[in-house]
């Protein structure tokens, strides 16, 4: 027994490296407890607490960034490097913005407020963990932690059948794809006998990797994340869930959850499956092309703004997938491809959060998600209109709003890779960005050029939380557009393979 006890060594813990997770976990617990204590009428305090906690978790990230270096734990299974730090910080900020957006929404809708914050925080914790996860088990666990609360958040408007439906669809498809992913992981594990990405990489690129089963394993793993980032044809859940879920949750799903999926993909592709672009390049080529095209084409016919944004976010995922498809042809392209995806993700987050914030604000008055309800918005809410216009055209990639730089980076990675396939994909992306403009501009058209549908011109009151969310988003969007170097630098920093 003693021997056994001795053998049970306490693992090496780098507490500094884990500090963000620890702080966040602490906040999680405090929120849970506070929710029990705080009086029903003052639940907003819990939300504020959660917000402060999220920001507090940023502090250790800053200290880690200052101290620099890569901290690898558990044989490379859990790594805190610049990539991880950038994304952890990004997730925390996204979480904070979503919290800002949701505070009034949840309160006024009379939904469970404390638990909402709690689940949101857990999901964010899952994402924060995901950023550092460099083995299959951690990735799986992190994925589940970020997903399961999200399934429930999607159904948070309990009395609304649509919200229930959103939750159910998301849950079922999510669980099924995670089953597929697990099956793929088990196969890869069986071939390589390891779960740590950096250890399986050389094995996968050796002769061992050239078995059909490996291709199937890798593909099955990717399926789960393709689902998570709503890549066509694994996107079906997205429009329905986005439409049914509470709008802040939709924003969360379309931004944070999607980013988390991409974070996992980045790690898997650029660490674990590096050197196997013979498998993933064609896969991502098809995924990217389909995702952009289908997302955009279907978006053309949408009449509901949330659903439209859902398809738009599908299409946006397509652009982010482009670099994956073209990376791998050479080392330089690998770097620029990664950077492209990362930069795109960060910029996309700001644009999309902003757009959803406006949707929430407008819905406060119109109580509708129909695009036609945006008619003449400019006449009674010029500020919101201006903001929405900025976000929409940023999403469309029109300079000087941030989106152009994201798209530019994607194009850049494709051209950097060179070759007919890469250029063809770039052209597809280019054509798609034109198609996309049509529906983004359609909303702008409705806001600026159409009459007010019911002639109700009462101004829209924007609660401070929402206003702050809008402010943060728009500042980021414009700042990136004008001085993209800031984010480009982050992208360079966060690159996994250098």
């Amino acid at each position: 027994m003693l021997a056994a006890a001795a053998a049970l060594k306490t693992p090496y813990f780098d507490y500094h490296a884990l500090a963000p997770e620890i702080v966040l976990t602490g906040v999680l617990c405090i929120v849970l407890v506070a929710d029990l204590i705080v009086d029903e009428t003052r639940k907003y305090l819990v939300t504020q607490l959660a917000g402060i906690g999220l920001l507090g978790s940023l502090i250790p990230i800053l200290t880690l960034a200052v101290s620099g270096g890569t901290r690898s734990m558990f044989g490379g299974a859990y790594v805190v490097d610049d990539f991880a730090l950038v994304f952890k910080a990004a997730f925390l900020i996204m979480g904070y913005v979503v919290l800002l957006m949701s505070s009034n929404y949840i309160e006024e809708g009379d939904y469970y407020e404390g638990e909402f914050s709690f689940l949101l925080l857990s999901s964010i914790l899952g994402m924060v963990v995901m950023s550092s996860s460099r083995d299959l088990i951690s990735i799986f666990v992190a994925l589940e932690l970020l997903s399961i609360p999200a399934y429930m958040l999607a159904g948070w408007r309990k009395r609304d059948p649509k919200s229930n439906e959103a939750s159910m669809k998301y849950y079922l498809l999510g669980v099924l794809t995670s089953g597929v992913m697990l099956y793929g992981m088990s196969l890869v594990f069986g071939v390589t006998h390891t779960t740590v990405l950096v250890k399986m990489q050389p094995l996968l690129s050796s002769g061992l990797g050239h078995q059909p089963i490996v291709a199937i394993g890798l593909f099955f793993i990717v399926v789960a994340f393709a689902f998570k980032v709503s890549a066509v044809p694994f996107h079906f859940w997205a429009p329905d869930t986005y439409e049914g879920a509470p709008t802040p949750v939709t924003a969360f799903l379309s931004v944070a959850s999607k980013t988390a999926g991409f974070v996992a993909l980045l790690q898997l592709i650029y660490l674990g499956f590096l050197g196997r672009h013979d498998v993933w390049a064609p896969m991502f080529w098809v995924l990217a092309a389909l995702t952009m095209t289908v997302g955009n084409l279907v978006a053309l016919r949408q009449t509901n703004v949330v659903r439209l944004l859902a398809y738009s976010s599908v299409a946006q995922a397509g652009y982010i997938l482009v670099p994956f498809a073209v990376a791998g042809s050479n080392a330089k392209a690998l770097h620029s491809a990664q950077t492209a995806s990362i930069v795109y993700l960060l910029i996309y987050a700001a644009m999309n959060l902003g757009a959803f914030a406006v949707v929430i604000a407008v819905a406060r008055k119109t109580r509708s998600g129909e695009i036609s309800s945006y008619g003449g918005l400019f006449q009674y809410a010029p500020g919101l209109t201006l903001l929405m216009t900025a976000f929409l055209f940023a999403l469309a990639g029109i300079p000087p709003l941030g989106g152009w730089f994201a798209k530019f980076y994607v194009f850049r990675s494709a051209i950097d890779a060179g070759g007919p396939w890469a250029v063809a994909l770039a052209v597809i992306a280019g054509v798609n960005s034109v198609i996309a403009l049509f529906y983004y501009a359609n909303i702008a058209r409705e806001m600026w050029m159409s009459p007010v549908p019911d002639d109700d011109r009462t101004p829209i009151s924007v609660p401070p939380g929402l206003a702050a969310a809008l402010g943060i988003s728009v500042i980021v969007v414009v700042a990136i557009g004008v001085y993209p170097q800031a984010f480009a630098h982050l992208g360079d920093l966060a690159s996994l393979a250098r």
Binding site: A7, K9, A77, S122, G126, S138, E144, L145, P149, I213
Partner: protein
Amino acid sequence: MILAATQHLDVAQNIVFGLVSLSMVVAAIRVVTTDNVVHAALYLVVVLAGVAVDYVLLAAEFIAVVQILVYIGAIVVLLLFGTMLTRAPIGKSADLDNDQRWAAAVVSLFLLGVLGWALNDAWGSDRLPPAQVQRTADVGNSIFQTFVIPFEVVSILLLAALVGAVVIARRD
């Protein structure tokens, strides 16, 4: 001698595996084809128990125990509760399948074919090494050393699932 013993054991194992597998296959098919929800749950128990037996055959006793405890003891019960709470007909009901079952069958058979081909290609006749029991302590060590972070994460996950499920499921 040892080799002979191993071979004997192997034969025995194979017989057990064959029987168990057969029942699992039948039970699994019944789970997805039976027209009685409760029966389905019971067939599921057979499958899950079979899985536990397989774990034993693979010398993973700890997992086998966990399998019985968590799956048969908790999950199936949970599912049965779910069946009750949603007032599913306890007896037969005609339409438990939707109209795309043929498509589903095609997809899954195709998938089975692909997987079978690829598995055969990869591990065609690889034998399992003689069973070496992996001690529970080793598993424990591994969990609390290498996989401590996933472990912690799972604990938070369970907490979150609990809190969330309560909110979602409760009447208000």
